[in-house]
Point group: C2
Chain length 147, copies 2
């Protein structure tokens, strides 16, 4: 999560919403890390965790079938429906997130993607890891935006 | 939908699951079209509609804020949670899909992303447009796979 927090801080410094993510292989190797790139990429879907999963899958290449079986995602904020849905497609082993997101989150809130009937793959979920630090980054960013 | 079907057929010819999508601007212009690229991109998230939305947003560039306000998505299959979640972030006006997907769909099935409590943007949805043709492409593809 330290690496995800570092990505979140870098994203904030670029004027992005400070969320960061890393994908870790079964052997502990970091396959990819990313922060939000919504502003830079003119792409509302360029969330840290989606980018990290995509880049990790590309790093693994063909033999993986584009999936991340056995891999873990660390992300500083509870994933939204898009990113939780992506975690299903990538067949992640675990999703570990920092701050809970009652508004946009779709793991413990909203669409609760992993708990939906017929969800094709359900990763293990750990929420609230280094929650205070992860959330404080976001609160400081939005407070600054409003002033 | 004819253009989305054409993309689906092209995807099938490349060995991808035959799903296609196009994003249409408020003035009727096609901003982007894509078929599935999961196999080619070694990327389990490379669904036709996500790619089409991302490419459309990039085509619009900076002034759009990375969003597709007022735009419509045509896709041959009911979107999954990832793609429905992306449609929320992109602020699509309408999502028009062909075949219903009781297994993987998350608009009329499963996580029902647009109906989830707190969903931040709810596009108008039209399901079942040219459903038979869209579904037949998929049935033929999977039948061939099994033989």
């Amino acid at each position: 999560m330290a690496a995800a927090l570092a990505q979140a801080r870098l994203a904030g410094a670029r004027g992005e919403v400070p969320v960061g993510a890393v994908v870790v292989a079964p052997d502990g190797r970091v396959l990819a890390a990313a922060g939000n790139e919504v502003e830079a990429g003119h792409d509302a879907s360029a969330h840290a965790e989606l980018l990290a999963m995509q880049r990790a899958a590309r790093a693994l290449g063909g033999p993986s079938g584009g999936r991340l079986a056995g891999c873990d995602l660390y992300v500083t904020l509870e994933p939204c429906a898009m990113c939780a849905g992506a975690a299903v497609h990538f067949r992640l082993r675990r999703v570990i997130f920092g701050a809970y997101d009652p508004k946009g989150g779709a793991v413990e809130h909203g669409a609760r993607v992993f708990a939906a009937p017929g969800c094709m793959h359900v990763p293990e979920v750990v929420g609230g890891l280094r929650e205070a630090e992860c959330g404080e980054l976001l609160r400081a960013f939005f407070k600054e935006l409003r002033t």
